[in-house]
């Protein structure tokens, strides 16, 4: 988990800050600035103030020092905004560079129609080409294994160095460009056109190049632009008001008031917040295909979680042997032990451990492996045929006395009701009893579900178990609902039903048969180990293939919106103090009595204006860490969440600038700057 750890280092590393500072100036390009209307307007008025300053210098006007300082801080406001964005982008750029280096070094062995191979740069591969990848080579393009089995190191993409198996057919056929075959060789059919592969998408994502504004960001930008217009009216009408009162207000001062009032703080940080949100997901080893998907994650109302691996630990444990009437317990134990000795799965080992006794397979034993067709496994010994397996499969093996079957059913029903999985054991056609395999609920998962419920999110357990077992596990784990004996069609139907009720649904999946449900869900997290179809259908890819992460993904989505909302509130709340700093300063010449409004006791009109505009500028870099890290997020109901954020960022946003402006004023007056 290389990437995940690198994300925990400081925000202001030298190698990130220096290029970001350089980029801050590059981003002064009006074509870039215009994407952020509020900062664009700030740049326009800063330009105006600069022109006035230059004219003033030429004509030898008064107050040049004061005006020069105003101009300096106005430009700094714009630059700080650019810096925040550049810093957020810069964090992704380092990752992107490594990925790009990988991509450019890729070569392919393309197999021609006649079966010969030619060595070409990976960039020349087209959809449908077949390439050969041998041991030690990197896979040149995204594709599907069409022949062979290989173990592949995917560390370049996932940061996880343990190799994974990739083979033709089935759910583990997808391979990704840039990963390395470490044993055997495979033939891969290319499924991505040049420039649209997974690696390309990842580079674009981490760089923020393909970043489009999300609907929520667009709406917020409109609101902030609207506020800017409102304050343009409020400030733009002041010269007329002043002329009525028989005075005049200098244009640079009006500009200062205007810039102080418009929501520069949130506007400067807005794109940094969005980039950082995506970045948090990437550091969490989840790739979102769009910012929209991240926001949708915050809106999720229903979480579809696979039982195995998410709610229960992947492996079941034997917990009990139940004998049929008339069967000696030792017979069952012995048969269970023997039939499981060759079974190296954790389930098999847990049966051996529970049964106790000899752990070595007798030399004359012939193990019979589990197959998907028979669904039983066992062992053949001289004169003894022992089988164990799913109850219905075992019952199909031969005919048993009816009362024994009924007795077994009774036992297995009881096990199923307790949330366990029964395995029937049979020796030479005689039913012995059942093994109770128990699902082990992950520790702490129940508490997570309680948290989710408080946040208004329903959890639904998806399992192939029968309804009885599913109900018991669902009750034990504390999920809100379950879908038993779930087929892909059931999942799809369930998602549609939830969506019809107006809920957003998140799920994760890996198989090709999950693809329709992944595509239908609002947040579909495909496991990176899954098939290409699944990875195409989902709008996020989890590089670690850990379905539990769905819960955190929801949190990251919420945190992104919360950060945006909280900083908006903070930014707007700041205006109260700025009014009290600047208005008395500019009106005191019109009506001396209005000096009473100088509640902060700022030293002079000029220092008041300067202090407000300095506060307005430096609050941006001060809030950059918050914008990049996101506001503190704990799962809680919406009402408490609102009260908390309103308290911190609303009330704090009113108070902070009063303190800040006063302190800056003391410094400005003390240094004799105004």
């Amino acid at each position: 988990m290389e990437r995940a750890t690198s994300g925990q280092t400081g925000l202001f590393q030298r190698e990130l800050v220096v290029p970001a500072m350089r980029d801050s100036f590059a981003k002064l390009d009006p074509r870039t600035l215009v994407r952020n209307p509020v900062m664009f307007v700030t740049a326009i008025v800063a330009t105006t103030a600069t022109v006035i300053l230059l004219r003033g210098i030429a004509t030898g006007a008064e107050d040049i020092g004061f005006q020069a300082q105003l101009v300096f801080w106005l430009w700094l406001t714009v630059l700080f905004g650019n810096f925040a964005e550049a810093l957020a982008e810069g964090r992704g750029k380092a990752q992107a560079k490594a990925l790009r280096d990988t991509k450019e070094s890729l070569v392919a062995l393309r197999i021609g129609k006649t079966g010969d191979t030619e060595k070409i740069p990976a960039t020349q591969l087209r959809y449908g080409d077949i390439v050969l990848v041998c041991e030690g080579q990197q896979i040149p393009a995204d594709g599907e294994v069409v022949a062979g089995v290989a173990s592949v190191n995917e560390a370049a993409i996932t940061g996880e160095s343990a190799p994974v198996i990739r083979e033709a057919g089935g759910d583990r056929s997808a391979v990704t460009a840039g990963t390395t075959v470490i044993s055997d060789e495979i033939r891969v059919k290319v499924t991505a056109e040049p420039g649209s592969g997974f690696l390309d998408r990842m580079i674009a994502l981490v760089e923020g190049a393909s970043r489009q504004k999300t609907p929520n960001e667009i709406a917020l930008t409109i609101l902030l632009t609207g506020l800017t217009l409102i304050f343009l009216v409020a400030v733009g009408t002041l010269p007329a008001f002043a002329s009525y009162a028989g005075g005049a207000i200098a244009v640079p001062v009006l500009i200062a008031l205007f810039v102080a009032l418009i929501p520069t703080t949130i506007s400067a940080l807005l794109s940094a917040i969005g980039i950082a949100g995506m970045d948090r997901l990437i550091r969490f080893n989840v790739l979102a295909k769009s910012g929209r998907a991240v926001e949708a994650a915050g809106d999720v109302g229903t979480l579809l979680l696979d039982k195995t691996g998410t709610i229960t630990i992947g492996d079941r444990q034997a917990s009990e042997f139940v004998t049929l009437p008339g069967v000696a317990e030792t017979d069952l134990l012995e048969a269970a032990r023997l039939s499981s000795l060759a079974d190296t799965t954790p389930e098999g080992r847990s049966i051996v451990a529970l049964a106790g006794g000899e752990e070595a397979l007798p030399s004359d034993a012939e193990p019979v492996a589990f197959t998907a067709q028979t669904r039983v496994s066992g062992v053949d010994l001289p004169g003894r045929i022992i089988r164990k397996g799913a109850v219905d499969a075992v019952l199909k093996l031969s005919d048993y006395p009816e009362d024994t079957v009924l007795a077994l059913k009774k036992i297995t029903d009881r096990i199923a009701q307790a949330g366990g999985t029964p395995l029937a054991v049979v020796e030479n056609g005689r039913l012995l009893g059942a093994i109770h395999l128990k699902d082990i609920i992950k520790t702490g998962i129940r508490e997570r579900f309680v948290e989710l419920r408080r946040m208004g999110i329903r959890t639904v357990m998806i399992t192939g178990d029968n309804p009885l077992t599913a109900a018991a596990i669902a009750a034990e784990a504390g999920v809100d609902d379950f879908l038993a004996e779930a087929t892909p069609e059931d999942k799809l139907a369930y998602i549609r039903k939830e969506q019809a009720e107006g809920k957003l649904v998140a799920m994760c999946g890996d198989g090709t048969n999950d693809a329709p449900a992944l595509a239908q869900s609002d947040v579909g997290v495909a496991m990176n180990t899954g098939t290409q179809a699944a990875r195409e259908a989902g709008n996020m890819v989890d590089l670690d293939s850990d379905p539990t992460k769905l819960i955190e993904v929801v949190g990251i989505g919420k945190q992104l919106l919360m950060t945006r909302g909280s900083l908006t509130t903070f930014s707007i709340a700041n205006d109260v103090a700025k009014y009290f700093a600047i208005l008395p300063a500019i009106f005191v010449v019109l009506y001396p009595a209005l000096g009473t409004l100088n509640v902060m006791g700022l030293a002079s009109p000029q220092s008041a204006i300067l202090s407000a505009i300095i506060f307005n500028a430096i609050i941006i870099p001060l809030l950059v860490p918050l914008a990049l890290k996101g506001v503190a997020y704990r799962p809680m109901p919406a009402a408490s969440q609102l009260l908390r954020n309103l308290g911190i960022y609303g009330v704090g946003g009113v108070i902070a600038p009063f303190v800040g402006i006063k302190l800056i004023d003391l410094a400005v007056a003390g240094l004799g700057l105004a």
């Binding site: 929520n216 709406a219 010269p239 008001f241 002329s243 009162a245 809106d299 109302g301 809920k503 009014y579």
Partner: protein, 552 residues
């Protein structure tokens, strides 16, 4: 002091109690509870097809154009028409335009003294008719908005709604109010002015007319246009303590009921309670502030060696008590009524700020129907910011608020300060405004600011002290009233139309509840930040500067 508090509590609290059943009745009415009446209304207009937001808005707009055209013609030709016992002559066309715009838009800004300007036909057939139908237009628009946001497939039919509001709400209530105030002494006659000889033996002309009918709907429909020039300070419009109390109740009754009606139609009475609470809190703050500021004597006493501890008595009708002046001032500007019970020009400077703030916010109950519609715009903004703060894409009643809705909401919200501050700037800096002032300095500025606030908020009250029957004033305020009326009605309908087209999402513990007191706090703050912060510089240069300069 005790009587002031008691009066306030009785009038405001009592009306709140009356508004509850009225709101329930109105919600039923607009939900089609009275099928036979609806059938009659539908037949009257030749069928009532269901309308989407565009059709509803077009119908509303078309009907208002007809209202405007008809009354403009009537006022312009009044000297040639009957029911003119006092022989009123032709009015100037700019005044006709201003007056028609004023009454069509439910504003009732009056740049004239009615008793010496308009004939009885003009007043009753033109202006009073508009007082009914303009109020009905506002209520109809709210009903349509509530249906849309509440999940109905269409917005209903405007022509049916406007009849429901006129015949089933306004007309019956107006009859009751008219009867009560007529019993209190408000004249109701078609005879011309009375010629009397006073006790001093002087001959006097006392204007009279069908005032009781006019005054009733003036108060109920948040119209505010007086039958006589001095409005509700005139003894024949408001003769007694009881008529005064009764008229104040009539001012806020329907605006309050509209909130309950909205809550019922959308099926969220609790949400309505939160909105009502926010409105009531703002109203309470304004009441306490204005009654409090008015306990200081007028600034004329400042440098006199006189102890004056009965408050500001200038411009008050003392027969009604000193408290009812500021109380009425707050009620009439919180709703977009605009009738006056004291001279606002004579209020202490900070007291004068309170009515202005009421018009800037324009939704502390607000005009009939439109007050709640204005509040809807603030709710959209509050929900948007609060929604993000709880970590979700903002939704209102399950409708997702995105770019298009925000663009429209911002457009409607910006229009208010643009009209007020833009107009004030134009008139304060030029002879159009400066030459019409009776006071110099900050107070004169307040007069201009007040006039534009009143026009944009469709309030209609005057600060007075302004010679406003001039061509520039008539044209400018006429236009401001028209824009300030129709933009904030049509745009919210468009927002709802856009929301209706989206998939509605379910609510859970994770969604922002608009029924919680926390949301109420958020809404309150949003109103103050968006509604009030914009006007702070203007307030500082007007009432605040005057207060700090003269009221030491």
């Amino acid at each position: 002091m005790l009587s002031a508090i008691l009066t306030t509590i009785l009038i405001v609290g009592g009306t709140a109690l009356l508004a509850w059943p009225l709101g329930i009745y109105m919600a039923g009415l607009f939900s089609g509870r009275f099928a036979s009446a609806d059938g009659l209304f539908a037949r009257t207009v030749g069928g009532a097809p269901e309308q989407d937001w565009k059709q509803y808005s077009i119908a509303l707009f078309a009907f208002n154009i007809v209202m405007f055209g008809f009354v403009f013609a009537l006022l312009a030709t009044q000297h040639m028409l009957p029911f003119n016992p006092d022989g009123q002559g032709a009015a100037s066309l700019d005044l006709v335009f201003n007056t028609t715009a004023s009454f069509t838009t439910n504003t009732n800004l009056q740049h004239y003294s009615a008793e010496s300007t308009w004939s009885y036909l003009a007043q009753i057939g033109g202006l009073m008719w508009l007082q009914f139908v303009s109020a009905a237009t506002g209520i109809a628009a709210l009903a349509a908005l509530a249906r849309g946001i509440g999940g109905k497939p269409t917005m209903g039919n405007f022509f049916v709604d406007v009849q429901r509001a006129s015949f089933c709400v306004l007309l019956p209530l107006a009859m009751i109010v008219a009867a009560v105030i007529a019993l209190n002494g408000v004249p109701m006659t078609l005879q011309g002015a009375a010629q009397v000889t006073t006790l001093e033996g002087v001959a006097q002309t006392i204007a009279r007319g069908p005032a009781a009918a006019f005054v009733a709907i003036k108060q109920l429909g948040t119209n505010g246009g007086g039958f006589f020039g001095p409005n509700s300070t005139h003894p024949l419009e408001n003769p007694t303590f009881w008529s005064n109390a009764f008229e104040m109740v009539a001012i806020i009754l329907i605006p309050m009921a509209c909130v309950w009606m909205f809550g019922r139609i959308i099926g969220r009475p609790k949400h309505a309670m939160v909105v009502f609470g926010v409105m009531a809190a703002l109203l309470l703050i304004k009441l306490v502030a204005s009654v409090g500021f008015e306990t200081a004597p007028t600034q004329a006493f400042m440098d006199l060696p006189v102890t004056q501890d009965v408050g500001n008595l200038e411009g008050k009708e003392l027969r009604l008590g000193a408290t009812t002046g500021p109380l009425w001032a707050v009620l009439t500007t919180s709703t977009s009524n605009g009738s006056v019970g004291a001279m606002h020009d004579s209020l202490n400077p900070l007291t004068g700020l309170v009515p202005m703030a009421g018009m800037w916010l324009n939704e502390t109950f607000g005009g009939v129907g439109v007050g709640m519609i204005n509040m809807f715009l603030y709710i959209v903004v509050a929900v948007f910011v609060a929604g993000m703060m709880v970590g979700r894409t903002p939704e209102y009643l399950g409708h997702r608020i995105e770019g298009r809705e925000m663009r429209l909401a911002v457009l409607a919200l910006i229009s208010h300060p643009v009209l007020i501050l833009g107009g004030t700037a134009l008139f304060a800096a030029t002879a159009w405004g400066q030459d019409t002032l009776n006071n110099a300095g900050a107070h004169g500025f307040s007069e201009i600011l007040y006039e534009f606030s009143s026009a944009a908020a469709n309030n209609g009250s005057g600060f007075e002290g302004l010679g406003d029957n001039t061509v520039p004033w008539n044209i400018a305020t006429g236009l401001v009233m028209l824009i300030g009326r129709y933009l904030p009605i049509i745009v919210p309908l468009a927002i709802v139309g856009s929301l209706m087209a989206k998939r509605r999402s379910a609510e859970s513990a994770g969604t922002l509840s608009v029924e919680s007191s926390t949301f109420g706090v958020m809404l309150f703050i949003t109103i103050l930040i968006f509604g009030a912060l914009t006007f702070f510089p203007a307030a500082a240069l007007g009432p605040i500067a005057e207060h700090l300069t003269s009221m030491r």
